[in-house]
Symmetry: C2
Subunit: 341 residues, 2 copies
């Protein structure tokens, strides 16, 4: 149907091999006029190389698979933006899968990407380490044996590269900063227990608290979503019996993501509670879209886009020994209005 390399060759009066060589910038330099004739023919015919055929004939497909939990979540869409731009400069196309946090869908996505012979796969949906199921593991194993690269963001797999935000450490720094700001009473809104990021952030915070001789008054948890934070906040308020204008120093709540923190604030607002007067709250991520929120959110800033580009760079590095590299990404504590005493 579409114009084929053969068509171009015929019109230019050369062999298919020659046409291929001039059109794909091979090292071999064809004769002056010949090259021109081929290029002209290609243009006149509107030739578009068939990437599928090229992939089959060559080694690589130029495809890069990206798997996220939810592309509409700003955390992941920011990472995706970084992945996109790095992929573009590397001349790769990105194959996107948004799994809705469903591990079955995730597994399917991996299979499909492998089936499409993606040169590399970036896994951005974190899970508890060691929690990778057997199927996935052996599939990745074969993939890597065949030259596929895999890098995980925020979840060290037993293999492959990894870009790891220092969730544990940075949460600890946040706790320290909050204590130094004068907070004494804390509570935590955690995330799913099977998500690495969630657990690390919670632990980092609570452990630092402990080191300072403090313990969270209450811990509740919810989904990694706005609504998850919203409902968790309701339960928290009930457990803590927070009331408006009590005059008592507000409890400082740590929500493991900004998105949950925003949901929490909304829940409290509905209850007539005001942040930071009646309750304080800090989040994590420093999501760009949320920076203009009122009250402004204390949080830990993560360079989300950079995390995406780093992952791609790691995935595309050719030195074989880079295949299992781990890169740590530090977070930066930012105290804003939502924890102001």
């Amino acid at each position: 149907m579409a114009v084929t390399l053969q068509d171009v060759a015929a019109r230019a009066g050369v062999s298919q091999a020659t046409a291929s060589r001039v059109l794909n910038g091979s090292a071999r330099v064809p004769g002056e006029g010949v090259a021109d004739r081929v290029r002209t023919a290609a243009r006149e015919l509107g030739y578009v190389p068939n990437a599928q055929a090229q992939a089959l004939a060559r080694a690589s497909t130029g495809l890069l698979g990206l798997i996220v939990h939810d592309i509409a979540d700003p955390y992941f869409s920011s990472i995706a933006r970084g992945v996109q731009s790095a992929a573009r400069t590397a001349n790769k196309q990105v194959l996107l899968a948004s799994t809705d946090r469903d591990f079955d869908i995730e597994r399917d996505a991996v299979s499909t990407f492998i089936s499409h012979r993606a040169d590399a796969i970036v896994l951005a949906g974190s899970r508890q380490s060691g929690d990778l199921d057997r199927d996935l593991e052996t599939e990745f194993g074969r993939y890597r044996a065949n030259g596929g690269r895999v890098v995980a963001i925020g979840q060290p797999l037993a293999f492959g590269g990894a870009v790891e935000p220092e969730n544990h450490y940075a949460s600890g720094q946040l706790a320290d900063a909050l204590i130094e700001a004068g907070h004494q009473r804390f509570a935590v809104i955690g995330g799913p227990g099977n998500i690495r990021t969630s657990v690390d952030r919670r632990n980092g915070f609570v452990e630092t608290l402990a080191r300072r001789g403090l313990t969270p008054l209450v811990e509740v948890s919810g989904d990694f979503t706005r609504d998850g934070g919203h409902s968790a906040a309701h339960r928290l308020a009930a457990a803590l019996q927070v009331t408006a204008d009590s005059g008592a120093p507000p409890v400082c709540v740590f929500a493991v993501t900004d998105v949950m923190a925003i949901g929490a604030i909304a829940a409290w607002r509905d209850l007539g509670l005001s942040v930071p007067r009646d309750v304080c709250i800090a989040g994590f991520d420093d999501i760009p879209t949320l920076r203009d929120h009122t009250p402004s959110l204390s949080t830990v800033a993560l360079p989300l886009e950079e995390i995406g580009t780093r992952a791609v760079e790691l995935a595309l590095r050719t030195d074989a020994d880079a295949a299992d590299l781990r890169e740590r990404i530090p977070g930066r504590v930012i105290l804003r209005d939502s924890t102001r005493l």
Copy 2:
């Protein structure tokens, strides 16, 4: 390198053709034991079909191209989410391109998608109609001639399907609602002049105002981003000489997107101006992440995810006459705190 269909066939003691037939659920039902033997061999060997080879041999690639301006912009990431889920149910893989609002990059993305023989391409980055450059147009022409489907979101191309939010009409409804709520003095923060969505929204609003005998006091414009809204709002405040607590009824500003509106509110806050006391503002889109903003934003709600799924459904409909269908998506006016008098 990887396990091949040939390998599976050999181990199962059948021909490649038979192996192919049992493994890809062809209509032809092979003998009982045969099918089992093949499946077992495939499992034992860890066979993963090569999608590239399949694509070459079959007609379709199972690839769906999605082009957006910026995947980190919640407008696009919400649409992308819808595209993703529809693609999944249709068993397609999505190839994503985020163009950073650069038309050269966009053109490249289209070429690459065509090169990869995507079964369909969804163009979500709108531009002024008729503004499609010649190159792109002829490329799309050939693509369609070869069976490719293209559907645009928010920008009726001269061809292909289209999913069109009723930007013009809904902006008019918003203007009406605002007037009925008691607003008399208006201003507009518009977007880029070469973006269809931007122009339609501005025109719909201003034309309805005119029908009611009103004219915007000032019009300024900026990029389709938070910062675009932020700087436009500064200019607007200067032009209007808005002051805090003037006691005068606030001017009601229409920003063509929620994201810009948020930037505007932030700018005014820095100026010591309060919304809705000193200035009022309405946006457009009803971005989920922004729903918890304070003050809550008056806006026009668009079913972003649905827009994405509709686009995919349109792109995948097999009835040839559906190729040029246009679907209109109504918006729903929501008045909230940011325009409260």
